[in-house]
Symmetry: D2
Subunit: 355 residues, 4 copies
């Protein structure tokens, strides 16, 4: 069985495992104050060009989103996000559980635009009943988005500008940041992201680590007491060095970007192969997540050997699925998948398949 339904089916990059093993019986102080975390912290601040930033290591994405967002908002404020944003859809109401509404903006491609945020803010400010409504308090974006798309430099700068005009901290969920940085056509780097965002995180769980997300806080006023919040929200790992070791490894010799590139190359190879065969996609994705719309007959044929994620059912005969590559995906898997699809196509009268 070949799993392509997500980017967290395997363990960690072998180099990480090696270092975890090497350090296993070493004794260090707990809760992220050890030398590994310190070095990882340094490497990340260097990579982001923000020596004055605060870096924190948390275990997972939902936890990180909850901790960051609840640390920023006052009780009457909400977080602006795309309708399809992870915090709005796939965190079991974690944000609301901390008391805050997700102010969801419509989005076809998973991104929100500066103009939408501006319109929302102006509408709020101009509403005579605004005190009876949730006040926009910050903005959340995912990079790459839940639909595989990425923000361009221009888009992010415009968002940042409008956010600063309305004093809304801009927060980037980078659970798949590696794959965004390695994406086709990407013109953003960590330094630009650090300039545009008041806070963001660099995802490890989906990009080479066993687990772990590195939060970078660039805005002075968001730094205060953040570790209390990590502890309260259950994100302070006792053996914090496990996070330090992993991020130190990922940020040495560009490993993070290198393994991300591998995943994206495979995904684009798959995308082009499917396009050649005439398939269309739910969204045009330059990253490791692809959302092809495939004939149900083909999916039945493939399900003996492959696992994808179900995504949507556009009509009776076709299904949109998510196919993910990751740092760990063997090139062989994608090659074989394309071959299997081509074989199926060759064996099937065309009117049965694509339609």
């Amino acid at each position: 069985m070949i799993r392509l339904e997500c980017d967290y089916s395997e363990g960690a990059h072998p180099l990480i495992m090696e270092r975890l093993l090497q350090s296993n019986l070493e004794q260090t102080i707990g809760y992220g104050e050890d030398p590994y975390c310190e070095r990882a912290d340094d490497l990340i601040k260097q990579a982001c060009g923000v020596p004055a930033a605060d870096v924190h290591f948390l275990v997972g994405g939902t936890q990180t989103n909850t901790t960051v967002i609840s640390s920023i908002l006052r009780p009457h404020q909400g977080v602006v996000a795309a309708e399809s944003g992870h915090i709005n859809v796939h965190e079991s109401g974690a944000i609301e559980a901390t008391g805050h509404k997700v102010l969801a903006l419509p989005s076809a491609d998973g991104k929100i635009r500066a103009a939408q945020v501006e319109a929302l803010c102006l509408e709020h400010l101009n509403d005579p009943s605004r005190e009876h409504m949730v006040q926009p308090g910050m903005v959340y974006v995912s990079q790459s988005t839940e639909k595989g798309t990425i923000y361009s430099r221009r888009e992010l700068r415009e968002l940042s500008k409008v956010c600063r005009r309305f004093e809304l901290p801009l927060f980037m969920d980078g659970a798949r940041l590696g794959y965004a940085l390695a994406a086709e056509g990407n013109d953003l780097d960590l330094k630009e992201i650090a300039r545009c965002c008041e806070v963001f995180y660099i995802g490890g769980t989906k990009v080479g680590a066993l687990f772990g997300e590195a939060v970078v806080i660039t805005a002075e006023k968001l730094k205060k007491d953040f570790r209390y919040l990590i502890k309260q929200k259950g994100g302070m790992l006792a053996k914090g060095r496990l996070l330090g070791i992993q991020f130190e490894t990922l940020f040495q010799k560009d490993l993070y970007l290198e393994i991300s590139k591998h995943a994206v190359e495979l995904a684009l190879h798959l995308r082009e192969g499917l396009k050649t065969l005439g398939y269309s996609f739910l969204s045009e994705s330059p990253t490791n997540q692809q959302f092809p719309i495939l004939p149900d007959t083909l999916l039945r044929y493939l399900e003996k050997n492959y696992i994808f994620s179900f995504w949507a059912k556009p009509n009776d005969r076709q299904t949109a699925v998510r196919i993910c590559t990751s740092w760990a995906t063997p090139g062989e898997h994608i090659k074989q998948l394309l071959e299997d699809i081509r074989r199926f196509e060759a064996d099937t009268p065309s009117n049965l398949s694509v339609q």
Copy 2:
């Protein structure tokens, strides 16, 4: 200046004021355990045909919605409501502040349909990722709705049926219940509402009282410890008898319905008058709230003497406003308003006004 922007511009029905005055220096036990509350409780249970129900008196609507909803839901559950529902729009995030997402359903007329609730529940149950999502935990409807419309008996019964099938308590926000019961074409009464809803409230603030909402809990399993919740959410009035006195007065000799009828008759009179003049409406409302779309020139003419609520701006030359009548609106006000509009129309070349 004539205020028609809402239904809470005046104090209370004179009979209520009289009784508050009469009882003013009497001594009673606090927190709603006095004889006035007891009698009001009895009258309401009788009117609703539910002798076994629990009745509680709270001060205001947002407080009541928050208290009821947070008393029912578990932390991972959300409340299903129309997009335009008061809890989703106009309570400053009060529901989220207690930890719960409002699961908003699209609605053109302010109502949600049984089929929508069914589809939402099935979609949730069939989603393999449902444990990562907010679980529908109850359903909220407003009667009359924020758009002036009302649920019919058939609609409410269907909603109730689908709610019970999916074990979702059905909660009716009756802040304007009087005006719904008095509405043109209404075929619901309190007894039917009590049969269909696990919990609902009878609004006093907008229907003759200084303040106050009477919560009726019909479902056994929702009754437990509700008074702790009232206290916690700040709704337990020290001098609770003030609520008892008001509801006792409203539920003697049908006063509640009688004064509601007055408001609705005036609103319908206004509606027909405006229709005759060729104006259209945002929604077809059979209750005390009317949402006519009026020329901006007319509105400028009227604003010297009348106050309406701004509602929407459908185009450059027209504005939709909310005009409310209430138990206290003098017939004279509506008569004069129609006259003023007719005068304006007579004086204005038609192409300037209606277009």
Copy 3:
């Protein structure tokens, strides 16, 4: 039956009722933006000597405590209070329901001391595990306290000083502020309170009003968006003028203080009478709440005509009760109570009663 168990058994001062009646059918804007609220706001700022303060009117005490405290604290912070503080004991966990721990300090007399707050802060700051603990974020005091005692000017100034040193806003719950201002030996006035406290409220519910608490925010940084919070926590009364009318009346011609004095004089008269008879007290109270320890035989004798609050059971033969006077207590009631007690004492062999 004579009720002396609390200070909210009656309605409102007759002058308030008169003005509510006079204005009853007048039309005003809702939610506290009417001329009555404006005038009450002015009168209160004048009385407190803080023209730049923000004044808000809420309905009840628990609601006010919850709204103020949750508007100030960040998620990892708690509110410091006396163990016996209303927020720690008698609000059904309202503060915790907004996410915050009450950091309770031991207190025999219901007051906390500057030295206690200082010790708590230093202990926290010096604890290497402090990030795993709740951070003190503000200080709550009641004036008068739940035990009837009052803070002196010196005590309040010292508290204020230590609070400012540790950047903890000082919040005074003034549900019974009138009775504190009228207390025997009191050397505080509203102006001094406004200088010492970042936020406090002037209680109406227990001091002449039907309901209502007037929050005064003196600290600039605590003012922002407070009305959103009032709305969210259910404290924004639709017919807000009801609060304005009441506080305008109370703050004209010193009515607030005058009616408070009446209550305190009666309470002290009772206290002295009981002392003369040899009874002791749970605490030495200079305000309207008295906590005498009475023989159970006497209590059984009195319970046919009087209602007190049970407070504590120090031993087998005696019970401590709370006896409250209020602005509405007729002098006759206290006179008769003392007579009844004297009669009982005269009729009872001394070894049966006091022991």
Copy 4:
């Protein structure tokens, strides 16, 4: 430097590391639904003698406490715990952040007694103001406690009995359960714990794992939708098999108990050695945490080579410290520590040291 300040200074048991390495590039389904978790689940249910229980794997202790407690309580309920309980002291207000008060009971030895819980419940039920107070909703105990002590079978059974009488689920925090099971004089086993507790967890973080806590829910009514809660509270590990692999390893061939015994033996060896030298202890601990009261002169001498946790300062010349052993502590470390202390004692005039 030898670290003895806590039991989470090292990584994981070598067997766990080996298996993590072996399975590293294997593909499995995420979020704890993989075969490793299934097998660990089976092993744990078997060890606990509860085939019908639900087992869930979470990452850390604070997260687990928060998830379990908030899944059980209604909004007006609190959790009863010892004053020194981890949830009351060292979780940065995590429980309050979910809306619930910790109802702290005094405790000299870190344990609470059945009689205390009974008294609290009766006091609540008999209080006429109980609706204004937090209702006890469940009971939390730690085994071993934060003071190193353990509940005996009799104590736990009595607690369980009183909890069931008052319908309070009993929840055991087993962050150090291994060391309790291996403790001197322990007469509890997992089967008895499963009979007495409605829910408990078996700590991995401090007992041989990199991280991880295994929650066992024995009570039918507490099982519903627990995975939604894990997700919401940030405890659902994407690569859930990491938890499965660790607990499968720990529960094969009694490894969990075996490594716990190692730690306890060393701790008792240390305790006896210190006793022989005449030192006293903060509490009599039969587990891996020891709290000796040592002369400050000795501590200064030891601090070049050893790290302990500061615990308390009973007087000017002595300090109570926490010394922890763990599954990973080399016997050599304890031997050397005792030798160093003996050498110091020999070199020091007795009146300088112990006094």
